[in-house]
Symmetry: C2
């Protein structure tokens, strides 16, 4: 299996990204294709690759920055790592593309280069995240700021199929993110979506509220890309703020006690990891005709390795094939 990796994407690229690729090639049994500027990749490779790992480099001299307008960047930079990585998937030269680069550019690029699965209106950013009881899929985490009920219905259908394939859950519980349990609650979009989901033949458990998202009551949580993106970034900001304030409070307590700072540090660090979605591998672009995984922009080597592992699992479980034939069966 070949995974194309955007060596130029993310805050810690290329060094940490290349390192994550090396670790994946060493530990996960996949071939890694590093896509990016050779002069930047080579030094990172030479210092840590023993030369026997299944790693190759595909040259992509252009780089799309995080803050570039996606459509313009994609048009003016056909030799960028994002465009070339997606092309590898399109041409069948890679089974999946992993990028910690601009989410906008990867999303728009995937949509225009790979296209949507037949019948799918819009792809969604489907984020795998930790709950108190396991993991769940949250979508759309930000691909579509304005959604229609039919789009949310498709997100639910695709998300259900994806979790079925990825984790062997026979009948994934699908919840609709809303502001109350009753079906009369919510805004127009969500009330109409509720009606559609009731008759969709899914294991629809009804509305889930913000407080339920991390409790693990659903395997798939469906929302529009505006609410979803706010929720995602809010979660990130709040958990950071809480951990920061705990560190501060403990630091001042530790000074006057017998608590071992390293013990506490260890506990906190592992918890931060489990609450950070990079720990689970990232987000899948659900609905695209190809496997595209978006890793967190701040991914370190471990997060990149996890994202590649996530890509591997997606490919191995045949999630895309299931989605493609699911779409075909509805024609």
């Amino acid at each position: 299996m070949k995974i194309a990796l955007d060596a130029m994407g993310g805050d810690k690229a290329p060094a940490a990204v290349v390192q994550g690729g090396i670790d994946a090639a060493r530990e996960l049994g996949v071939s890694v294709v590093l896509v990016g500027r050779e002069e930047d990749i080579k030094p990172c490779l030479d210092s840590s690759n023993d030369g026997k790992l299944p790693i190759s480099v595909v040259s992509a001299p252009q780089v799309i920055a995080m803050d570039e307008q996606p459509t313009i960047a994609l048009r003016t930079k056909p030799q960028s790592s994002i465009v070339k990585g997606l092309m590898l998937v399109k041409l069948g030269e890679a089974d999946a593309f992993v990028s910690a680069g601009s989410t906008g550019a990867v999303g728009v690029g995937a949509y225009s280069i790979l296209g949507c699965i037949q019948g799918v209106k819009r792809p969604a950013i489907a984020l795998l995240y930790s709950t108190l009881t396991g993991r769940a899929l949250f979508l759309d985490a930000g691909a579509n700021a304005d959604c229609r009920p039919q789009m949310l219905l498709q997100f639910a259908q695709m998300g259900s199929l994806y979790m079925q394939r990825l984790f062997g859950i026979a009948n994934p519980r699908v919840g609709l993110l809303n502001i109350g349990e009753e079906e009369t609650k919510g805004n127009r979009l969500i009330r109409e979506t509720h009606r559609l989901l009731k008759d969709a033949g899914l294991n629809f458990i009804g509305n889930v509220e913000g407080k339920d998202v991390y409790r693990g009551v659903a395997d798939v949580v469906v929302t529009d890309g505006f609410t979803g993106n706010v929720a995602l970034k809010l979660s990130e900001g709040l958990s950071e703020a809480i951990f920061l304030s705990i560190r501060r409070a403990l630091a001042s307590s530790v000074a006057t006690s017998a608590v071992s700072p390293s013990l506490l540090q260890g506990v906190l660090t592992s918890l931060i990891g489990s609450w950070d979605y990079s720990g689970l591998g990232g987000a899948y672009l659900l609905g695209i005709k190809g496997n595209v995984i978006i890793a967190h922009g701040r991914s370190d080597a471990l997060a990149i390795k996890n994202a590649i592992g996530f890509a591997k699992q997606t490919v191995e479980q045949g999630a895309l094939q299931a989605l493609l034939s699911g779409a075909a069966s509805k024609q």
Copy 2:
């Protein structure tokens, strides 16, 4: 100053609520009017009130439960603590009404009994919350699931005036909750609201993202009631989940170390308090012609006392008068 308190509202009513009222009357220099079923209130009062505190009881034999449909409950229970408490404000017999009861019933009741300030389209639930650097106002936290841009503009104007009065902030920074910094980002509602806010004569700092909400970049964060309610409940659920997982992790570490469990417990408890909005007093129904404070449904005695303190501050600072004359000046 007289504060009417819904003695029947909240999960811990009446005992903890009455206790919070007693504590407020003892410590905050306010008179507290307990509104509710006398036979329920009296035993709580007798056991802890020394009889010299400025506490009175107004009988309200009916109780509106948390899960009742607000409009029906308000119509069929005119002798409920919520209706009678709001009537005390309307008749000038109380300066504010504090309730930890059904947010829906209090909101709809306030709208129909007290009405909106002239020119205000809809009231918003304005939540005072902790940030890493202080506190900020978040609105609408759930009163209006479907908003129009003009409503969000008014929320921003009212929120700005409120923070100005409450904390003496000369020019409160107003941020619009969005999924990116650029003004082209967001859904239709938020893009149009952005245009209105730019020309509103406020200290509009532009879009703020989910990750900024807890960083304290804005004094007033404006959003629609759907996104706002999801964000509020998500924050609550996530912080609970994080604290729970920390307790678990530390409990297992503590067993094998020299860490003092009570020390850690103390640190965590105080942090949970500071991240729980009950610590700051609750939410103000902004836009209503009267002072109405919604406390958390799970409020304990301390949270109720804080909510009464918040009501007192609002009354003392003349926030409502400022809002009323702000409205008048625009006629």
